[in-house]
């Protein structure tokens, strides 16, 4: 018994590893990211310590250290023994070092450009830009824009640049110049206080409920029942046609809808014959956009339900149909009293699976309306994508996006629990009485 259990576990192991890697880890990471201010500018793997205009601003505003900020922001290039020693250490040309010591010792330049102008006027001018840059770099006594990997390196850099700070000031400088992410609840505060949250949630509710009710369940059921009562060959063809939206690549599938809906598309050209001016039917109005978003997603979603329901109907013992026909049941009565009661389990599955699937899917909306016109078809998953992976100024908001994704996970779990209760899951999985 125990060896077969071990074998079972072993056999399951690859699947378990994959589940952990591709399902569990992303959810955990999403949870972790959502409590950070992680963005492109902070990086994912951690930051460094760098004096930037932003950090100087923070030093003045948040720590009241405007004089320190002013000092840190200044750049200074000095020819002194320290610089010359560094050059010596770097095996720079002896003649250059000698000339600098003789003619320029004690000089200070405010910009690197000015320092380099002096270097270029040396009799022993280095022969490459690279060498000039290296010498001016050695003369630097500023830490502006220098990236220090650790706090200790920052402190060393400060003292090397001759900037003397108290321990408290050094700590403040380290905090203000840190470029990496920090823990925060700000993402959730922002989401709960933003008026857009409500709008996007309402959009999501509209999208999920209408697509689910009209297409993924009802229309799928209609297709399944219709094909059940058809002869086998045409039923197969009919089902295959309804599978096309699902098996087409999404980009091509949506492009076909666009060809249909564009102002120069099929719909416009066809309706022009009846005097209707051509227009972009997909984005003509908010209602149009919703109709298209729901149709585009619904046609894909319906095929899934159709397959599940069709096979479930086929699994219903034929005797039940014969018996109902002997009793004189009409088609409608068969559907109402034989088919539907037997499909409770697949309906639960399709409803909960498709709810979750619709809530998290945004690819077809992204490709068709991209949330437009004017963000009126922006649903939660799409807004999450836009936040986390799209920004005009190159600053993706990973933390905020993760917080939005986490809320989606919570909503999904909550809805699943409601469905399980609504469909009375425990009865569905209880052992059949007959086997007791």
């Amino acid at each position: 018994m125990s060896s077969s259990r071990t074998l079972g576990l072993l056999l399951l192991m690859p699947a378990l590893i994959l589940v952990v890697l591709f399902f569990l880890v992303p959810v955990i990471l999403t949870g972790v990211f959502s409590f950070t201010n992680m963005s492109t500018s902070t990086g994912i793997t951690g930051g460094a310590y760098q004096v930037t205009p932003n950090s100087l601003q923070r030093l003045s505003d948040d720590y009241g250290l405007s004089s320190v900020a002013e000092t840190l922001g200044q750049s200074r290039y000095v020819v002194d023994e320290q610089s010359l020693a560094r050059l010596q250490q770097g095996e720079a040309d002896e003649d250059v070092i000698a000339e600098l010591r003789k003619d320029h010792l004690g000089q200070t330049f405010e910009t690197r450009r000015a320092a380099e102008r002096m270097i270029k006027e040396l009799r022993h001018r280095p022969s490459s830009t690279r060498a000039i840059k290296a010498i001016s770099g050695m003369m630097s006594r500023s830490i502006a824009h220098v990236r220090f990997d650790t706090k200790q390196a920052l402190a060393a850099g400060l003292s090397e640049a001759g900037i003397e700070l108290t321990p408290e000031e050094t700590t403040a400088v380290a905090q203000a110049t840190y470029t990496g992410w920090v823990w925060t609840m700000a993402n959730f505060r922002r989401l709960f206080s933003s008026p857009d949250t409500q709008r996007v949630l309402i959009n999501t509710a509209i999208y999920v409920s209408i697509t689910l009710v009209l297409f993924n369940t009802t229309f799928a059921m209609v297709l399944a029942i219709a094909t059940f009562y058809m002869p086998e060959a045409p039923a197969g063809i009919f089902r295959s046609i309804w599978l096309l939206p699902r098996i087409s690549p999404p980009v091509i599938y949506v492009l076909m809808w666009k060809w249909l809906a564009w102002d120069t598309g099929f719909l416009s050209l066809f309706l022009e014959n009846f005097g209707v001016p051509s227009r972009n039917w997909m984005l003509e109005s908010t209602l149009n956009a919703w109709v298209f978003v729901i149709l585009i997603n619904g046609f894909v979603g319906a095929s899934m339900g159709m397959i599940i329901f069709s096979s479930a109907i086929k699994a219903i013992p034929k005797q039940l149909f014969y018996a109902s026909e002997v009793d004189g049941a009409s088609r409608w009565q068969q559907i109402r009293h034989v088919i539907l009661p037997q499909l409770r389990w697949p309906i639960l599955f399709i409803t909960s699976y498709q709810t979750l699937s619709l809530m998290t899917s945004f690819d077809l909306i992204l490709l068709s309306t991209d949330g437009g016109p004017g963000a009126t078809t922006e649903v939660w998953a799409l807004a999450t994508y836009h936040t986390a992976l799209s920004n005009y100024a190159g600053n993706f908001q990973y933390g905020l996006g993760a917080a939005m994704a986490l809320i989606l996970v919570v909503m999904g779990v909550f809805l699943s629990l409601i469905y399980l209760r609504f469909f009375n899951y425990s009865t569905l999985v209880s052992k059949p009485l007959i086997e007791h």
Binding site: G43, G73, E91, A134, L283, D370, L389
Partner: protein, 451 residues
């Protein structure tokens, strides 16, 4: 510390190079280049690097070095795809050596360590960089450090379809005088709405086509904020700035345009191809775009006589504090942080050579952008180009640029969401402004001045 060690290393190498005999040792360097927002007319953004590589190889040969540069050039017309590709590849340590992007990325990418200052690698005093307009170098800088080299310049004009203006009573002379009148603040955004309405009433354009703005988010919309006297950043402190009155004026203008029926309520999201073909064929009365639109209208859209059909001006001012303006959004060559210092150095030399006037003019004229360097005006290909000449004269002196500030992306998102909500009628202007203010002060706190 890392920087000091690197400097020591470089000094050593440089010293060895200058003192040792120059044995010809073949050096193979692979450089990848990626340009965003680049359509078919913009291929010289990356082709300039190919030309530069040819030069650099020859220069190396003169010094007795055999330098083999293997280039991997990529462009995409999309900004979203480009930024995703660059950022995510950089996160995994695979960033392209040279990226060609909008200058507004500099602040964030410098802070994340994704890019390195160009000034660490090139001599700013040496030609051709010394020839580049100072203001463009400033736009490519962050906190006084030059992070990128300007790749092009442009301005974003307001366009009028001449025949439609004639149809509502403007004489040719009056249309010709529009640039001056707009600059002087005599023709404002209120006139735009009036004339757009007149065009629709006269039946020369369809409803919603009187004023036909850009169809997606973009830097252009900041111009309308500036039209009402708004500033994106405080010139003294460098902090971001929300000017409530200017933002209200800007939102109100678009709300009024929709209410007057001269702009469609669902206009945002119209496909670009459709929009270009419509504005280049006289379907719209007034619209706005960029200098590069000239290339698109006259080439792909087949507009034979641009100047005979279209008048271009600054974006008109609006309200009492208003001023006519335009925005320049230069693309920049940026160097990404790489493990291989030598590759970064070669990449820097390539973008330096690619910035030479003669090479840059190829891009400027082909794509109808404006030149980056003073001497480009003396190169016949550029000097003889009417569009380059007139657009530079009329627009460039009034051009402002977006600030390089790592919080600007957040400000921009909030501004755009507010505009969308007003445009599509989801919020009143007052409500939208209140929400914008609330969101900005909660997210950015002290980093933005609200007044």
């Amino acid at each position: 510390m890392v920087r000091l060690e690197y400097m020591l290393h470089v000094v050593t190498v440089a010293a060895v190079l200058t003192t040792s005999t120059l044995d010809a040792v073949a050096e193979d360097i692979a450089i990848s280049v990626f340009a965003g927002g680049s359509g078919p007319d913009d291929h010289f953004r990356v082709d300039a690097i190919t030309i530069a590589a040819d030069f650099l190889t020859r220069e190396a040969a003169i010094l007795g070095e055999e330098l083999n540069i293997a280039l991997d050039l990529k462009t995409t017309s999309s900004w979203d795809d480009f930024k995703q590709a660059v950022i995510l590849s950089a996160e995994s340590g695979e960033a392209p050596n040279i990226v060609i992007t909008g200058h507004e990325d500099i602040a964030n990418w410098a802070q994340s360590g994704l890019i390195v200052p160009v000034e660490d690698y090139v001599d700013l005093d040496a030609w051709p960089i010394s020839d580049i307009y100072e203001n463009l170098i400033d736009i490519a800088s962050y906190g006084g450090v030059v992070y990128g080299l300007p790749q092009d310049a442009e301005a974003r004009p307001f366009f009028f379809w001449r025949d439609h203006m004639t149809a509502i009573g403007y004489s040719d002379r009056e249309i010709d005088a529009l640039p001056v009148e707009i600059e002087a603040g005599e023709y404002t955004l209120s006139n735009v709405l009036e004339d757009a309405r007149k065009m629709q009433d006269a039946g020369v354009v369809e409803a919603g086509y009187g004023f036909y703005p850009r169809v997606s988010n973009g830097p252009d919309y900041w111009q309308f904020y500036q039209s009402f006297g708004g500033l994106m950043a405080d010139p003294n402190s460098g902090k971001l700035l929300l000017d409530r009155a200017a933002m209200s004026g800007f939102y109100q203008f678009f709300a009024d345009a929709v209410a007057a029926g001269v702009t469609r309520k669902n206009h945002i999201g119209t496909p670009w191809d459709q929009w270009y073909s419509e504005v280049a064929s006289g379907k719209a009365g007034m619209w706005h775009g960029g200098t590069w639109h000239y290339a698109r209208y006259t080439a792909k859209e087949g507009l034979a006589d641009f100047f005979g059909n279209i008048q271009f001006t600054l974006i008109p001012g609006g309200g009492e504090r208003g001023r006519a303006n335009t925005l320049t959004h230069p693309l920049v060559y940026l160097l990404t942080k790489q493990e291989d210092e030598r590759a970064m150095e070669i990449a820097a030399q390539l973008i330096e050579i690619a910035s030479e006037p003669r090479i840059n003019v190829l891009h400027a004229v082909k794509s109808a952008h404006l030149g980056i360097a003073k001497s480009e005006a003396t190169i016949p290909l550029y000097a003889n180009n009417r569009w380059a000449r007139e657009a530079t004269d009329r627009l460039l002196a009034h051009a402002t640029a977006m600030p390089n500030n790592s919080n600007f992306g957040t400000y921009w998102d909030v501004m755009w969401k507010g505009l969308e909500s007003v445009w599509t009628g989801q919020k009143s202007v007052e409500q939208a402004i209140a929400d914008v203010e609330a969101e900005l002060s909660s997210v950015l706190g002290d980093a933005i001045i609200i007044r």
